[in-house]
């Protein structure tokens, strides 16, 4: 906690040269910054003295937009937060609104959401480690990971109709039931995936070049990780045993048997190991969810919250009215406020929803894990060389769509 640290000050372009030091920009258009991140670096030769990440180039004002539409209309916007794991975002937002309304979703819906969340986690971690491996020099690893991810996207397409922008969750349920034979295909994917993951593991994890670049680099101590509010795999990489799925269980995660993966030193190598192992744990969860997938409805029977059955809409006046109201006015959510965090692939994605009643939120605040991870770069980057930046950024696995909102 007592590490030496000063906040970066705004430096104009005019003071480019301060004695021997130089101020340079890395990004916003740079392959190692994973999107449109601009790093303002004060360097002495190759050594970083101060780093100031400049974010906001993908800012779309999602929180403002949310105040002007119904809860269900906002779900497609959550796809565009962390676009590598859209399902997790949909589900986190739906969970938050359900928490506010005090709705308990059905057990089948919970199991479907768990499968979606964990498959999303695998897909997101695959892209994370793929980009990370490529930044560290392994293009082969990149290709392997994207091949595996494509299989997951195919499964998503079958389930939701879209590869990436799934918009699958609804307040009080999910959009549609799982198609015939889908769980069998998920199961065969799980069987196919584990040996393939071992291949990537064997290819890169013990690779001398990779270890030299990642081990001992970008060390984040436990205290610093907590102070900066890091969450998810980045926090666990620093050795803090904290997993919201275990600690504040949601979606019935307490019924699944899995391990919390924790690093020891908090360097880039630990974060790599945590992600690789987390994918294996996710497969464990997916298999358990398939095994005990309960029958029953996929949405709550409360037709003021979720759309009534089509059959009822065509024959029952009451259902027809409610169907119309949920679509046009939005689900009826009581006044109040709720905060919910889900353990997403990038960290804890939090939604704060304030409602004054009715179908439209009064205020939505998105707590983006990538935003928090990037804020810690001010402390993590100084002291490293410029050539370490791609590895450090890769190891934190952030997405700018989520950071800038």
């Amino acid at each position: 906690m007592e590490e030496e640290f000063t906040y970066p000050e705004p430096a104009g372009l005019s003071d480019c040269q301060i004695g021997e030091k130089m101020v340079i920009n890395m990004g916003p258009s740079h392959p190692a910054t994973h999107g449109v991140l601009r790093l303002k670096l004060e360097i002495d030769g190759d050594l970083i003295l101060r780093a100031d990440p400049m974010v906001g180039q993908l800012h779309r004002g999602q929180e403002k937009l949310a105040e002007n539409m119904t809860y269900n209309q906002f779900i497609p916007f959550t796809d565009r937060l962390d676009y590598l794991a859209p399902m997790s975002n949909n589900i986190a937002f739906a969970q938050c609104v359900e928490k506010l309304a005090g709705i308990e979703i059905t057990s089948r819906c919970k199991a479907i959401r768990v499968i979606c969340c964990e498959l999303s986690r695998i897909a997101s971690h695959l892209v994370g480690i793929a980009a990370y491996a490529m930044d560290a020099g392994s293009t082969t690893g990149f290709m392997y990971c994207f091949t595996m991810r494509e299989k997951i996207l195919t499964l998503f397409e079958e389930l939701t109709g879209a590869r990436m922008t799934a918009s699958y969750a609804r307040i009080g349920g999910v959009a549609r039931d799982i198609p015939e034979g889908w769980m069998g295909r998920v199961n065969s994917f799980a069987n196919w995936f584990l040996p393939k993951l071992d291949e990537v593991d064997n290819l890169i994890t013990r690779n001398r070049i990779f270890v030299d670049r990642a081990a001992g680099v970008g060390v984040v101590s436990k205290e610093a990780a907590l102070q900066w509010g890091l969450t998810g795999a980045n926090l666990r990489g620093s050795g803090v045993v904290s997993d919201l799925r275990k600690d504040v269980p949601y979606l019935g995660y307490e019924d699944y048997d899995f391990e919390v993966v924790v690093g020891s030193k908090g360097d880039c190598y630990d974060r790599w190991m945590v992600r690789i192992e987390e994918m294996r744990q996710s497969i464990r969860i997916v298999r358990q969810a398939i095994e005990k997938m309960p029958d029953g409805p996929i949405k709550v029977p409360n037709s003021k919250i979720s759309l009534p059955e089509k059959k009822g809409v065509q024959s029952d006046m009451e259902d027809l009215i409610n169907n119309f109201l949920v679509v046009t006015q939005g689900p009826d959510i009581p006044a109040g406020e709720a905060y919910f965090e889900a353990d997403n692939p990038k960290g804890a994605l939090g939604f704060y929803v304030m409602s004054k009643g009715g179908g439209v939120p009064y205020r939505v605040k998105i707590r983006a894990p990538s935003f928090v991870s990037l804020s810690a770069m001010q402390q993590i980057l100084p002291g490293h060389h410029i050539s370490d930046i791609p590895v450090i950024l890769g190891s934190f696995d952030f997405v700018l769509g989520e950071c800038d909102r």
Binding site: P8, G56, N68, M69, E341, G350
Partner: protein, 204 residues
Amino acid sequence: MLEKLISEFQDALSARPSRDGIEAFNCKKSALVKVALRLRDAYGFEALEDIAAIDNGEDAGQERFGAVYHFYSHSKKCYARIYASCQSADEPSLPSLCSVYKGADWHEREAYDMMGIKFEGHPSLRRILMWESYPWHPLRKDFPLAGRQAPLPPLFEGQMDAAEIIPAPEEGGPFHSPNSGVSAVAQKEPRSAEAQDMEKLDNV
């Protein structure tokens, strides 16, 4: 669990209604830093998760602006929520928590950028999502959804006013406005009413 906290800060803290099982408090802004310190050191809330700036609308008077803080304890596995009101509609400000949680840095910059709340004692309070010369605070309730005209930031010295940001052509948009009907949309987006009038004229 946190009832003890209220008794420690009897003048400054009061319970806040909560629907989601998170213990919530209203806190006077003068005591905010002290309360956060106690939360961190004595109650084990190691992490500041989020700061959500709130605009309660122009009707709320001096209570218009405020911020909701969420803390998380990794050891006790629970959240705490604190709401602090800025007590001013014209120059809203709150004390900065950067000295307690380093992670407060960007959250406070975002609250400043989006809502215009000044954080006293913040080491480097700048805009974060919008550019530095941007004149508005877009999450305020009186800021229209379509946006307002604003000049683009200069790329280099001497290169100015080459372009400007113009409001989005919403015409009411695909967005749904609650409790309202057309008139509220027209109030928020005056140009949408104009556009509708034009349509009517065309039809005649």
